[in-house]
């Protein structure tokens, strides 16, 4: 099939991520989409900078309208941001019958009703997975995954900057201003941080989530918005004493009389999963009457995570244009003719860390002998401790660094033969996810 032809408006943080993801995962994406997705043109302010990234094969222009009106382009990806140029380019793309993918939450929160109505009338898709919670497929979950439910409420940490600041304020007992300055140095906060720290960015996203949850028009002007700049470290400490942590939440809830729509700092139980979402991470809790609580967690911003969501929307469009409607989404994610015979490995070749518990006679030299055996097998030990078991025995616990399972099992076979080692050697795997 012929490639899907994409025109990219903007090549900043997210735009360059989209370019990189498509270049890097070209083959893997085509195995899923059933066809290639190709950026054929970009519209940018700085042509030379763009040329350095995309090379000579891709058309570069400073005129977004030229792309939007190009009949050879199937999909426009809008990553300029803001409510002016982006708005008119998106509306013109729709008028031209092009599908649109955007990460522009500010625009959709203010002008979404008009944009979706125009797109509906013209019969084109407007994908905006990247507009809320970056790489987390929360729009898809709510729009397609939870369709059986009457959704009762949604509560999310949907701004990474403020979650980073609150995490640091708690961990280090520092005031807001100090942590904000540090976040700005680290690139987690912008020079003018108002939109983030005053809750406006979170309210843009919450406005979209409320529409998805309850089937109401986008109503940003009705949102109640409070930020975190007035929070004192002592309130974080008092909250902790009461068993709570403070998070900036976007909350929307169905009540008998109407919909709550509010962004503000809130105390959440310290043991809850959402309280343990730390640093710049995002998480969204959705409560449906059938499914109960579900939670979606991941990176809510950044070049590559946001690009992940943009490209997923492109794949949706590519799949929708396949010949037979039943096969838009392949059963096992990849197209049947693109399945791989990559082998499944046997366990001996798996590499991970190991927890070992050995029950031994409590006599001199035991630990040295065991350590030598492990070391000879190329297995290095991270932690070790010994605990008496009765009067004459002891349990020795090793935590190894990463090792090949076959090597560990060979070493354990030799260890089991040692006269001072009792039977029942325990070997458990350790997963650190890194």
């Amino acid at each position: 099939m012929k490639p899907v032809r994409v025109g990219l408006l903007g090549l900043g943080v997210v735009g360059s991520g989209v370019w990189t993801v498509l270049a890097q995962n070209n083959a893997e994406i085509a195995r899923r989409a059933g066809r290639l997705i190709e950026v054929v043109a970009v519209a940018v302010r700085d042509v030379d900078k763009a040329r350095a990234l995309v090379g000579d094969e891709v058309r570069i222009t400073t005129d977004g309208l030229e792309l939007v009106r190009d009949p050879d382009i199937d999909i426009i990806v809008e990553l300029i941001g803001g409510n002016t140029v982006a708005r008119s380019l998106i509306l013109e793309a729709i008028a031209q019958g092009k599908h649109v993918v955007t990460a522009n939450k500010a625009l959709l929160a203010s002008d979404g009703n008009e944009i979706f109505a125009q797109a509906q009338a013209r019969g084109v898709i407007v994908g905006f997975e990247a507009a809320v919670a970056g790489g987390i497929p929360i729009i898809k979950a709510m729009r397609e995954g939870l369709t059986a439910n009457r959704i009762q409420w949604v509560a999310g940490i949907i701004n990474g900057t403020t979650n980073f600041i609150l995490s640091e304020m708690r961990a280090r007992g520092l005031p807001f201003e100090d942590v904000l300055a540090e976040a700005q140095r680290l690139g987690y906060a912008e020079a003018d941080p108002t939109f983030d720290v005053e809750g406006v960015d979170a309210a843009h996203k919450l406005t979209l989530l409320a529409s998805l949850a309850f089937g109401i028009p986008v109503q940003f002007d009705k949102a109640h918005i409070e930020g975190i700049s007035h929070l004192a470290p002592e309130d974080i400490a008092h909250a902790e004493r009461l068993g709570y942590r403070i998070k900036l939440l976007g909350i929307t809830r169905r009540r008998a009389e109407g919909i709550e729509l509010r962004v503000h700092p809130a105390l959440v139980p310290a043991g809850s999963l959402i309280a343990n979402v730390e640093g710049a991470m995002n998480a969204v809790l959705v409560h449906g009457d059938a499914v109960g609580d579900t939670l979606y967690y991941g990176q809510g911003a950044g070049s590559m995570p946001t690009a992940s969501a943009v490209v997923a929307d492109l794949v949706d469009v590519a799949r929708l244009q396949m010949a037979d409607p039943e096969h838009h989404v392949p059963y096992l994610a990849f197209q049947p003719d693109a399945m791989s015979d990559f082998p499944v490995l046997n366990m001996a070749s798996v590499r991970t860390s190991y927890f070992l518990r050995l029950r031994v006679d409590d006599q001199p030299g035991v630990l040295a002998d065991l350590a030598r055996l492990l070391s000879d097998a190329g297995i290095s030990v991270g932690s070790m401790f010994q605990q008496p078991h009765g009067v004459h025995q002891a349990d020795i616990i090793f935590l190894t660094h990463e090792a090949r399972e076959g090597d560990v099992d060979d070493a354990l076979a030799a260890i089991r033969d040692l006269p001072f080692v009792h039977s029942g050697v325990i070997r458990l795997r350790v997963e650190n996810f890194n």
Copy 2:
């Protein structure tokens, strides 16, 4: 549009949940799907029991083949389970050109390659969101939400029974056998718990996740499977001392030489989100090269959560049969002509709990006056503590029970007027998500 006509095979735990969800959320689901989804016939063993649930309007038969061959039925939902009858009915439904939705992970793990090939040839959908992790839309996330990524690994708590047992073993220091007996009494474990506790059920699900992640055929026979019946409470305690918890994980990972596919207990860092997934809950971590870590959490079993996933698959089919291909999934989740003008509430009518911090002169009667004022406004206090601030002042912290925000603000206005209360009253909201 005319309703989607569903034939239901099996009316047990999940089947009755599907019936209930469709009955209960009929209107809400139609607002999303664009048409009604109607169960027109069920095949069961016990006709009288079925009649009591579905009433007189629905055809009841004991012959699954009759449903599968009925030309008036669009979609077959298979909730019988097992590899024999379910297998032949699904294959016959596909041969008849019917779409199929199933929760049968054991069957798909063993016969998935054949079933998907038949369905592909016949041009029908086989939805199986309910086969992995119950109500969590993890299949959709992996098949559609993360399509931009080269997925590196997936690690999941995908069996609720074993997670419940491990949570209880840790919390109460009890041996496996005791907790298993309790789980059986509570209905979290079956009379013959082998499939769950020995990791077979998790391996069925992991086999499907591996195919979705890497585009390999379903290969259950290659999975390495260990259960939790050999775990001792002392190893859980040792692990905790080292900063870990023990979870039964399904792990599949891409290596240079092939794919790891393994279910076994594993130590995971105690501070990680997945370590804090407690009780019968499920969670799946997916790591993609662009998106990084993402996590999906919710109820992995049970009547209504599993039904949530079955019905979501039905909505996918219903939407796919809409007239214009671009509008299968409505922009804002609900069909444009089904949007609601349900109002957004103002903040005064929001009800939640409150954290209040008041700086006061440290003098007799202060606390009594404050408590009286709150009580007069109908606000009841859950916790309170006082902390000296300098020599003559104190901070008083109240944690209230649920109250109307307007009432709280009125009370605070009165409190601010008290001569012994200093300015800078702090009022934060508390969200307990219940």
